[in-house]
Symmetry: C3
Subunit: 344 residues, 3 copies
Amino acid sequence: MKRDFLSTREWSLEELDDLLQRALRIKGGTDIPDFRGKVMSLLFFNASVRTRMSFESGMSRFGGHGVYVQPGKDTWVFEHRDGIVMDGNTQEHLREVAPVMSRFAHVIGIRKSDLITTSSTTADVEGSWSDVKQDPFMRAFAKHATVPVVNMESNMEHPCQELADRMTLAEKIPEPRGKKYVLTYSWHPKSLPLATPHSQVLSAAALGMNVVLLRPEGWDMDPEVTDAARERAEARGGSLEITDDIEGAYDGAVAVCAKAWGSMSYYGRAEEESEAKKAQRGRWIVDAEKMARTDNGVFMHCLPVRRGVVVTDDVLNHPNCVTTDQAENRLWAQVGLLTKLLQE
Amino acid sequence: MKRDFLSTREWSLEELDDLLQRALRIKGGTDIPDFRGKVMSLLFFNASVRTRMSFESGMSRFGGHGVYVQPGKDTWVFEHRDGIVMDGNTQEHLREVAPVMSRFAHVIGIRKSDLITTSSTTADVEGSWSDVKQDPFMRAFAKHATVPVVNMESNMEHPCQELADRMTLAEKIPEPRGKKYVLTYSWHPKSLPLATPHSQVLSAAALGMNVVLLRPEGWDMDPEVTDAARERAEARGGSLEITDDIEGAYDGAVAVCAKAWGSMSYYGRAEEESEAKKAQRGRWIVDAEKMARTDNGVFMHCLPVRRGVVVTDDVLNHPNCVTTDQAENRLWAQVGLLTKLLQE
Amino acid sequence: MKRDFLSTREWSLEELDDLLQRALRIKGGTDIPDFRGKVMSLLFFNASVRTRMSFESGMSRFGGHGVYVQPGKDTWVFEHRDGIVMDGNTQEHLREVAPVMSRFAHVIGIRKSDLITTSSTTADVEGSWSDVKQDPFMRAFAKHATVPVVNMESNMEHPCQELADRMTLAEKIPEPRGKKYVLTYSWHPKSLPLATPHSQVLSAAALGMNVVLLRPEGWDMDPEVTDAARERAEARGGSLEITDDIEGAYDGAVAVCAKAWGSMSYYGRAEEESEAKKAQRGRWIVDAEKMARTDNGVFMHCLPVRRGVVVTDDVLNHPNCVTTDQAENRLWAQVGLLTKLLQE
């Protein structure tokens, strides 16, 4: 029976602990995966540096191979809706694509964030956040695939980032339980997807940290995710707090993770949001003054990051900045996941 | 002496039988290729899902590597005509490209279907079907290459599809000789290339089936191909019939393969053809009613297929639909071919 | 301590001799590299056939893997300048990109020739030749990377071409010291980069040849390079001469290498240069008549070459044309370099 990795909310905390241990053993050299003869199909509807390179490198280092595919550029335009007469711009249905790719590859990764996917690459995505958060394309693909499907970032979650962030916290924060982790919103010229901050809050919650979600009113995360994060944190002896008190949030934190995201209520209407958030610029940036309030906290960011906009240069250049390790851990966390998905 | 795989009409039936046996042995696990240290260059002038993934996966699974190249995007614009003063848009001649790639790769695959190649990627293709059917670019490339060149779809043939279809028929139809195979034309909004249906008729003919080519008047295949198919079928105890009698064609068939293609007489004039074929829509679609006339026949299609346009959903979702196996067999058929081209 | 390969002027002649010997041993089969588990990141800001295929093939043949990345198409837009507030078109700074890629790959190759990079892929390049010759992007990348960076062609040099050309001369010309090598300018419709001819002059100089740089007045190379080439040639018993005497230059040459390039003084102003060089067409082409003045000289070109424009067909089709071997040697020279950078 194949197992997909679409949302960590569908995996138990014990299973997620196991994935973390796998990643740590492989990074430490005490476990050496064997991916010889294995192929991973990597479907990117959106651009990527880290996700693509970490998967392709991770497969190659251990003898496997990643096939990098850019749907809509390299391929046909895919349809995911059932019962459609395909006389429009879509050329191939997932009912064909997914089973066929499952014969060519042993695992399939998909990145598809509709906010930044151009409409030419798939059927148009319509509707509000409540529609797109269901990740209809990725769910349909996984349903019709006969091999495991890995979410390389969807509308709702970026679970590989979650694994990497959790691994980084585990490495950098001894005994993280009950310690303060801040995920702070930051102003950015664009309206960015919610998937990454969702997964970052979930990462710290799984370690039983006291998670503080710091954001301006109106820039909340999806309640489904914050509810799940609260439940996780509490199950592990931590907590979840949502606030707009910037100074209070930084006080005593052992880790600050910055991220910009778009408001659910403005979903798909970037210009309006841009206007509404003008006053935030400067106020929400992560700078040395704010970091000074922390308990010698590490600084995290998923990258790419706009210097001088989301975070100041001095924070990024400081020894407490762990963004490079965090990015590197994408590789180990994903290789650990693949040993689970491919070898069992 | 290198051997190209440009047209199966240049290979004997015995050689094609050998390729089939190789593919079946490898799929069955009784023969394991060793492609370590081998590189295949994959030149795609047109988009692809199956062809690219099946070659890249096939090379990788057995230790080799496929280099995916999109000429005109990744590379210079190539010239294939001799004696040209290259002061226009072409930047590099096949007299240089082909021998150089032959030093970097052990085998070279080329997909180039001029009907769907944008003119920016090569010298403009001019002229009618009688010109382009000579596949001047691919033939010039093969002439100047010093390693085997594989046709990954040209104007005239798609011989890897032929191998896969033949393998699928051999797997699904016990004792195919003398049994009825129908290749049916189907309406499609675009004017698609002839190469695939050409190769599909040749695939069934090589098994000695009674091949029925079902198409409306004016949408004939190239007579060179149908003549070759008739000769093959008869040599193997079968026959070739060309008809527009839809009901009669389906009666008693053990396999129905659907495909849309453009008329030779409208070649390059898609809008005129679109007008001329309006009345075909609906009449030529493969549906459950037509399939009910067959002898529990399997349904085949090379993919991608437009659901509700070329074939109905119920036919594609039926257990007799073998399109996924047919696509998978691309991999095995091609790996079998590569063992012949690379290891001898 | 990592070692970059950005400019051969930063490597000693003895080190370059060692690289040549490595390449010859590997080509001859007496040394077999082991790149298993090794990954090379290949960043192409400009199109390529030979460079990409030779690196990707070279890594794969010996068990490694090259990840082909097209920044700006596949990735974010990179910033290399320090202290910038990144609220414009650049999305990620090399201070993040370079260390992160250094965790995913064991060596990083970069092709970035600003003359032919579209501005959308990086921060705009401004200024004259004296600015861009510093290769600010590649130098910043190498500074922030923690693994070796290989110049796959910058504004100033194409050092991998230098290695391949030197290897070709070493193979084709017994006892090259003191023999005459001509690098001749040739007319071309475009203003091409200077990096390749720079590296070609350096290649012959390192063998102690009598190097003749043949070009029209106003189409000089950068004096930094010609000075370095003269110093090298003299250190090895050869010489450097710069001339516009076409007949005299060809007389008695054992090797003629042709290349078109743009004038430093017209840098970035192709239309003006195009007008100024009109009279050169025809006069500077390499043809059989000119080659007849040589001492049975071999003909070299880095490719791609425009037939009938830069060189005539009869020279390119002549047995003394060694361009295919020269291109093949890219692979061996680079594999030799990688054994130095990866295995030590």
